[in-house]
Each structure stands twice: as C-alpha cells, then as structure tokens.
C-alpha cells in the first residue's frame, strides 16, 4: 500500500543555483499527484529530492524535512533504503541494454542479491501484468534484450522494473514525454490503475495529462510552488494569477 509524503521547508541547490525554495506540501497516500510548470521550474529536482536521487550529483544538496509516513527520509534511512521504497520512472525509457526483458524487470531484486528463482519468476509476471506488458512479451522474456522493445514497451518495462521491488511510492518524471500518443494513453491508463495501490507523483509538461490522471496538482514556477490544490480547482478556478496565466497558455 502507498504512504503519504509530507514535505516541510524543502530547499535544494545545484552548485550555487537555488533550484527549490521553501517547498511545503502534503502528498496524500494512494492518490496521483501531478506537478506542472514550465521547463526549469524545479519540478524534476523536487521529485528527485523525494527519493534522494538529487544527491547522486556531487554538486547538488538539499535541506528540509521529507517524511514518508513516520520516517524522515533524510534522517532515518540511507539513500539506498529510500530508493527501494520510492520507485522512479524516468523521462526516457532506460532499460539495461545487456539484460533480457526478464532480467531487466527483476534487476532491482537480483542486483541486491536476491536469488530465489520461484519468487523472481512470480515477481516478473506480476510486475509485467501490472504494467500491462505481460501479454506482449511473455514468450520472449529471456530470449530478447530489454532494449529490443519499442519505446512505449520499454517504458512500461521500466514501470514494471520499478514495481518489482514493491515500492510504496512511485515517482514519474515526465514518463510519457518521449512516447507517441498511443503509448502515452497506455501509460496514463496504467497510472490510473496503479494509484489504488501506490502513491504516485507525476511530473508532466502536458496539462491534459495532469487533468486526466491526477486528483491533486501542484504548479511550480522559478523554484517555488505557486499553488497546490485539487486538479479540478487548479484547472477551473486557480487562486493565483500566475497559475491561471500558465494553464491558459499565456506563457511556458
């Protein structure tokens, strides 16, 4: 089951650039939350702070409190533990090119030393079914490289790979921006189904996408969160003038 995330006074820097300023936000469990905003507004940095991927860049740092349930992810656990509980799907599909479809999906388990074949098999099938890819690849699991699939299939495989480690939260950084419309709608259907079991945070450039999949939406601008509310409210009756300008297409 998913878990809620509470963010208090989160600040982040790349070198001397202050990319996130005083973010306060509550992301409810088992819902999809969309983050929108123009390029460079800090929304990607924000999700990367939620699984501490931010700090894999040597010049990046972050301060503040991020609580997953009762756990402060910057105090109570190592980045490696956090990333097992907070899965991430990236902008471009990034399959491991040397691995079969099967090995890609269970890589999070195998690379952490898990070897039980029966459980690996079950996890692979369950995750691929959850990612709506099972029927398309079940005959080639160990024969084909994960990189041989189409872009849309690769991205669903990457979602299956993230689900295989049984996370509580799923972060998606523009998961459909590199895909064609058909693949995009498959990914959106998937998000719709997955949010009953996981807390989903999705960064998107596509406002229709935010409106279709997310209950809540946050609008980021220049490193600050301008507004956070129910998606319906944001798109029909935003409080802030800047949000209104953005969603009506006046800039960005």
């Amino acid at each position: 089951m998913g878990v809620g995330i509470l963010v208090e006074d989160l600040n982040a820097w790349y070198g001397s650039t202050h990319t996130l300023q005083d973010i306060n936000l509550h992301i409810p469990a088992n819902h999809a939350t969309a983050l929108i905003g123009p390029s460079g507004c800090g929304k990607s940095t924000f999700v990367r702070c939620l699984n501490r991927m931010h700090e894999t860049n040597p010049i990046a740092r972050a301060t503040g409190v991020v609580k997953m349930g009762e756990m402060d992810i910057y105090k109570d656990a190592s980045p490696v533990e956090i990333r097992r509980r907070v899965g991430m799907v990236f902008q471009r599909p990034n399959p491991f090119p040397t691995m079969s479809i099967y090995d890609n999906v269970v890589s999070g388990l195998k690379l952490n030393g898990f070897r039980n074949r029966r459980i690996l098999d079950e996890t692979c099938e369950r995750s691929l079914r959850q990612a709506a890819l099972w029927e398309e690849v079940k005959d080639d699991l160990k024969k084909k490289s994960g990189a041989s699939l189409s872009g849309g299939q690769q991205q669903r495989m990457c979602i299956a790979r993230a689900l295989a480690v049984d996370p509580e939260v799923l972060l998606m950084d523009e998961p459909a921006s590199a895909l064609d419309p058909v693949s995009t709608s498959k990914i959106e259907d998937l998000i719709f189904q997955l949010k009953s079991q996981y807390t989903i945070v999705i960064v998107t450039h596509n406002m229709q996408q935010a409106a279709r999949v997310a209950e809540n939406t946050g609008f980021f601008l220049n490193g600050k969160m301008v507004e956070f509310d129910s998606t319906h409210k944001i798109f029909t009756n935003p409080r802030d003038k800047r949000t209104e300008d953005y969603i009506t297409g006046r800039f960005g």
Partner: protein
C-alpha cells in the same frame, strides 16, 4: 569529388593493409616449412646439433602472459573505474590520467629496466615473475584509459536506473556500468595483451630466457620473443629457420587467443541488444 575522396580512402586502406598482408605471407612462406611436431614438443637442441623445438618457449610465453594479465588487467580496470566513476575533476584523477598517457609512450626497454630494478634486483635473480611484472606495467596504462573511455560511453540514464532501484553504487558500477561497457573493455584488454605478447625488450633482463623447461615462477624462463631474438641474431641457418617458424607461431597464437576471447565474450549476447 565523391569519387576522388572514395578512391583516396580505398587507396589508403590498401596502403595500410598491404604491408600487413606481406608480413603475414612472408612469415608463412619462411616459417611454415620449419614447423613440425618437434617444434611444439621439444626444447632447443644444443649448438651444433640438428632439430630441436621451442616447446619451452611457447609454454614460457604463456606463463609470463598469464602472470602479466592476472596482474595488469585487474589493476588497469580498477584504475579506469576510479577515473570514470569516482575521479571526475579531482587532482589525483588528472595526475593518474596524465601518468597513464605518458607511460603509454615509454619505450618498452624502460619497462624492462623498471622490472629489473623492482623485482630482479631485490630478489637477486631473473625470474618469470619479473617478466610478468614488466609486461603488466605495459598493459596497465592502455587498459586504464580504455576502461575509462568505455565507461564514459555508458549513458548516465542507465546508472540512474540502477541507483533509482536502490542498488548501491558499488553494485551499480560492477553489474551495470562495467557490464554495459564490457565489449569495449575486453577489446582494450586484448589489444594490451596482443601488444605485450610480442615484446622482447622488457623480457631481456627480467625473464631472461632459458634453454630448458622451467615451471618455477622464481626461475628464469624461456619466451618466444626472446628465443626469436637470440636465434635471429645467431650465425646458424637452422636457427634462422626456427626463428621464422617461431615468429609465425607467435602471431598465430596471438590471433587465436584474441579470437577465442572474442567468441567467448560474445556468447550469451541477446537478440536486439546493443
């Protein structure tokens, strides 16, 4: 214009390949006739006697090269991993990179002297081990730089994929970065191996050579390039013929071992993978 550039590049290719083909052809022409079973099974005959072979040199070369690879490949790859994965922008990394580039250009006889002063002098005797160390010195810089460059071609997105799954950095480097870069790294190791396999100078005062069988790593050992050197400089026709045959065998052995590694490394590569 297309025609001119096309023809020039074809011409250049022929110019490059012609000497290679000529060398190979000449080696076969001069060496093949002296190859017989005795060449592969017997040790050199004493001066003045007919016959004899180079079995001890073939095995000796093998032992030295295995020693050199066991020392040079792990150190070279580890140093390359440091440069690519940990050392970005660090002073130490720049120093290592510069040293590796300089070492790549150091004459091989200097590597022999280094092996001599570091292993032979303290031990006070020539040895197979000293030969292996000298050749390992020559392998390390090439392997280090190739490993670094190959790791640099692995997309950052793939590392992030692994880190994002909660895989520790060390495991990501071994199972994802190195594995993805492995075809290029293996090629680099093979190039380094093939280069040192034919080296004579570093072995002259380290492995030293031996007319007899030796399997003791602490004793002087025979090696094909050394034997070729000695025989080619000798005044005897019989020895000249054997030197030709040994050259042919040396080249063939290098080609066979490189090909075997390639076939072995390509096994298990999946359909549609890159």
């Amino acid at each position: 214009m297309n025609y001119v550039v096309g023809s020039l590049s074809v011409l250049a290719t022929i110019l490059v390949l012609a000497p290679l083909a000529a060398i190979l052809f000449y080696l076969v022409y001069k060496g093949a006739s002296s190859l017989n079973l005795a060449f592969f099974t017997r040790i050199p005959a004493p001066v003045g006697e007919e016959g004899g072979g180079m079995a001890n040199s073939i095995v000796g070369s093998g032992i030295i090269l295995v020693l050199a690879s066991l020392m040079g490949i792990p150190v070279g790859i580890a140093a390359g991993v440091y440069l690519a994965e940990f050392g970005r922008g660090k002073v130490l990394a720049n120093a290592i990179r510069f040293t590796a580039d300089v070492l790549n250009g150091v004459p091989s006889i200097v590597m022999g002297i280094a092996g001599f002063s570091l292993v032979v002098m303290p031990q006070k005797h020539y040895s197979a081990l000293a030969g292996g160390v000298a050749l390992a010195f020559m392998m390390v810089p090439t392997i280090t730089r190739t490993t670094e460059e190959m790791l640099a071609t692995v997309p950052h997105a793939i590392r992030e994929a692994a880190l994002g799954l909660g895989v520790p950095k060390w495991r990501t480097i071994i199972s994802v970065s190195l594995r993805t870069a492995s075809p290029g790294i293996i090629t680099g190791c093979m190039l380094a191996f093939a280069r040192v396999a034919g080296e004579t100078a570093p072995l002259l005062f380290t492995a030293f050579g031996n007319q007899f069988w030796n399997f003791n790593l602490n004793q002087p050992i025979a090696a094909l390039p050394l034997q070729i050197y000695v025989y080619a400089l000798s005044p005897y026709d019989e020895w000249h013929r054997l030197a030709w045959a040994a050259s042919l065998v040396l080249i063939a052995l290098i080609m066979v071992s490189v090909t075997l590694v390639r076939i072995f490394a390509n096994r298990g590569v999946l359909k549609g993978g890159s």
